[in-house]
């Protein structure tokens, strides 16, 4: 397969996955923001959305204050924000357009229809209902994935799509975990000083904070099913890092990447497989206690560095081979 084709497949899948992840995160924040809660926390929770995607600087160039309206505007519609939902759907469709000959016409028509429907939504943007819009985005992304699984030949093209999806997904789960824990550390002490509100905010954290995190990775019901227990930070982290059945857990993503990487193997890709194998081993032979001892933030930073290193190597080996002669 042409390297450029593989590149488009990979990014089409990554942008589709990113659009869905962003939509889910925004939807959860949007709903959580409707609950009674301290003002600082509300602002923090909007800010953290920008932190997750490392977009604070770009945001502050356009807006003065961090609030619900501005963040939603920036994360959904802003063209200059490459991670906004509109940008992601645009990039996914542009990549699909380049390689429309290599995806099934069903996949192309699904991407194209998403884009055409989005144009109509954008015209009526002022009147659009955020929840419904985000629901629509999630639905369209599910549909793309389903159409891919249901119609594509099980060959290289499908593998490159899968690799794109999984790398984006692992990256997203790790970032959410990293950021949410950091927020918790920052916010809690502020609340502690306000004696009367303490009880309220504690229960708020213990339930809604972690519940929203779970929801943002479609993990709330799964958590209930697996632990049949109160929501505790440790178990949430355990589910999202170590549970091999949870589709968005880190271990799941890495496990699924390994056979795909073996299937597209070429003469220069041994190192990538070695790094992936090491990453899998370090997840398999660890547990949540060890992670908390090391510090969750540090663990996540390490994971992100490693998965992004793998993504870079992958890109150089398969997608944009540098030298010619």
């Amino acid at each position: 397969m042409l390297s450029r084709t593989a590149d488009c497949l990979y990014w089409m899948a990554r942008y589709t996955e990113r659009a869905e992840n962003t939509a889910r995160m925004l939807d959860v924040s949007h709903q959580t923001a409707l609950l009674p809660q301290p003002e600082q926390f509300l602002e923090q929770s909007w800010k953290k959305l920008l932190t997750i995607s490392k977009l604070e600087d770009d945001f502050s160039k356009k807006y003065d204050t961090i609030n619900r309206h501005n963040v939603l505007d920036f994360m959904i519609y802003e063209n200059t924000n490459p991670s906004s939902i509109v940008s992601c759907l645009y990039s996914a469709r542009e990549n699909a357009r380049v390689i429309r000959g290599r995806i099934t016409s069903e996949v192309w028509e699904t991407q194209n229809t998403t884009w055409l429907e989005l144009q109509i939504i954008l015209v009526n943007r002022e009147r659009s209902d955020h929840s419904r819009f985000l629901e629509w985005v999630k639905h369209r992304c599910h549909l793309v994935r389903g159409v891919i699984q249901g119609t594509m030949l099980k060959n290289e093209a499908l593998y490159f799509l899968g690799i794109g999806t999984l790398i984006e997904r692992a990256d997203n789960t790790a970032r959410i975990l990293e950021t949410k824990y950091e927020i918790q550390e920052n916010v809690k002490p502020i609340q502690k000083n306000k004696g009367t509100e303490e009880e309220v905010s504690d229960s708020f954290f213990n339930f809604y904070h972690w519940a929203s995190l779970l929801r943002s990775v479609s993990g709330f019901e799964i958590y209930r099913q697996i632990y049949s227990d109160q929501i505790t930070p440790k178990q949430v982290a355990e589910l999202l890092i170590f549970n091999p059945q949870m589709p968005r857990s880190l271990v799941s993503c890495v496990n699924e990447l390994i056979p795909l990487m073996a299937a597209v193997r070429n003469q220069d890709s041994k190192e990538i497989e070695r790094l992936l194998g090491k990453l899998k081993a370090s997840l398999e032979y660890s547990d949540i206690d060890e992670v908390f001892k090391q510090g969750l933030e540090e663990f996540m930073e390490d994971f992100l560095e490693r998965i992004n290193h793998i993504a870079d190597d992958f890109s150089n080996t398969f997608l944009i081979p540098l030298a010619v002669a």
């Binding site: 450029r4 357009r97 429309r100 010619v324």
Partner: protein
């Protein structure tokens, strides 16, 4: 009928059969208007047209070979030497280069109008990168979807196997030392107006669609970059103009081409379809000589007519043209796509006077032709069903043998009275039926 039209528009847009329009920011993608009333030929009339097309394309290929080799037609005094060697479309790089089977224009799109029963005129020979064939096939699919019963009631000759014929043709012109040729389609990229067609043909033939940056030349051989390392390329169906093919040989600012491609081509290690330098034969200044070419190379009487043409480089023709601007169609000799032309009967006085200035300044750049009583066909427009002017572009494939599918792209001028059918100028398309008896 209205419902069917809406349905067709919806399907075309969802499927993304669109083309880009240059210099039009709003809606850089459009669907080409599709008219659901087909244009119909009898099998008999088609057979005559087909024979004429084969004859013409064969002569044109012989001509291109000749002017890059022995130049017999010039020596015989049939085509003046300055018409060839002073023409920007003549490529000295191609002198004495041998191409497989001596075929230069593997894919030709000949624009035809019908003036009366069995009376066909050639408007233009497109021998560089003729486009539109994907619409021929898609229009047919659309018609079968919208009116299945019509296809049951008559025997309409199929056209959907065009990509198979194309692949067979491309394989048959492989470099001689190659056993199983690796064929690719070379596109300028997704912003090209015909990108949909490039993708379509690559997909239908089951070959790679490549851009210049996917290819490189090493030791006078062409390779493409793949996820499994370099892979040799043997036949390139290129949809890029000569000028942009190789920045080392032609336009150095081209980012669409492949550095060193010409050297690999001249060494015979890769076939380009169409060949470099075919533009010399479809140039409008050469067009008037085509009937003479047919007699010269094939010793046959031309079956298809040429439209009488005034060559403005000749003083007496220029004088006639200037005196009759309001009756004539004036075209740039090197132009294409309906840009930069004057349709006298439809033009305003100001437009004519404006054009007169350009014409006087550079008469050698123009030719003029009388407006033919162009055939019309019933067409579904705002007001109902009304006659509109049409032309036809059948596609002729020359490889081991000359092949074509029974049909072509019928283009229709949707504006009342308009003679310009180009999609970039608001033209539409129709399905073309050859009825078998």
């Amino acid at each position: 009928m209205g419902l069917k039209r809406a349905e067709a528009e919806l399907i075309f847009r969802r499927v993304g059969i669109t083309f880009a329009v240059y210099g039009d920011d709003l809606g850089s993608e459009r669907t080409i208007p599709f008219d659901q009333i087909p244009r119909i030929f009898s099998a008999q009339e088609w057979a005559q047209l087909e024979t004429g097309l084969r004859q013409r394309v064969q002569a044109l290929n012989r001509f291109i070979y000749d002017i890059y080799h022995e130049e017999t037609i010039i020596k015989a005094g049939i085509v003046p030497a300055e018409q060839i060697f002073n023409n920007a479309q003549y490529r000295p790089e191609m002198r004495n280069v041998d191409v497989p089977r001596d075929i230069y224009a593997q894919i030709a799109g000949i624009d035809i109008v019908r003036a009366g029963a069995g009376e066909f005129y050639v408007l233009e020979d497109n021998l560089r990168v003729p486009s539109g064939v994907s619409y021929m096939v898609e229009d047919r699919k659309m018609m079968m979807r919208l009116f299945p019963d019509l296809f049951q009631a008559q025997r309409i000759a199929p056209v959907e196997h065009y990509p198979d014929l194309l692949l067979e043709c491309l394989k048959s012109v492989k470099p001689s030392d190659v056993k199983k040729p690796n064929v690719v389609v070379l596109t300028p990229g997704m912003y090209n107006s015909a990108y949909f067609e490039h993708t379509y043909l690559a997909l239908q033939m089951g070959v790679e669609l490549v851009e210049g940056k996917d290819l490189y030349v090493k030791n006078e051989q062409v390779f493409m970059r793949t996820t499994h390392g370099p892979e040799r390329v043997d036949v390139i169906y290129r949809r890029i103009d000569d000028d942009f093919l190789d920045p080392l040989a032609f336009r150095s600012d081209s980012t669409l081409g492949v550095a060193g491609l010409l050297s690999a081509y001249r060494a015979g290690n890769v076939t380009l379809a169409n060949a470099i330098g075919t533009g010399i034969a479809d140039d409008k200044s050469i067009y008037p000589y085509v009937p003479a070419m047919i007699e010269f190379y094939l010793g046959e009487k031309p079956i298809l007519n040429n439209v009488p043409t005034f060559q403005c480089r000749k003083p007496e023709d220029l004088a006639y043209t200037l005196a009759h601007l309001s009756e004539l169609v004036v075209k740039e000799t090197h132009g294409a796509g309906g840009y930069g032309m004057l349709v006298g009967p439809a033009a305003s006085k100001a437009e004519i006077e404006n054009f007169r200035v350009h014409l006087k300044a550079n008469p050698e750049k123009y030719i003029a032709q009388p407006t033919l009583a162009l055939s019309t066909c019933p067409t579904f427009v705002e007001a109902g069903i009304a006659p509109r002017h049409i032309d036809l572009r059948p596609f002729v494939l020359s490889g081991k043998t000359v092949k074509m599918v029974p049909g072509g792209l019928t283009r229709v001028a949707l504006k009342e009275g308009s003679l310009v059918v180009n999609s970039s100028q608001g033209g539409g398309t129709k399905d073309t039926w050859v009825l078998e008896t």
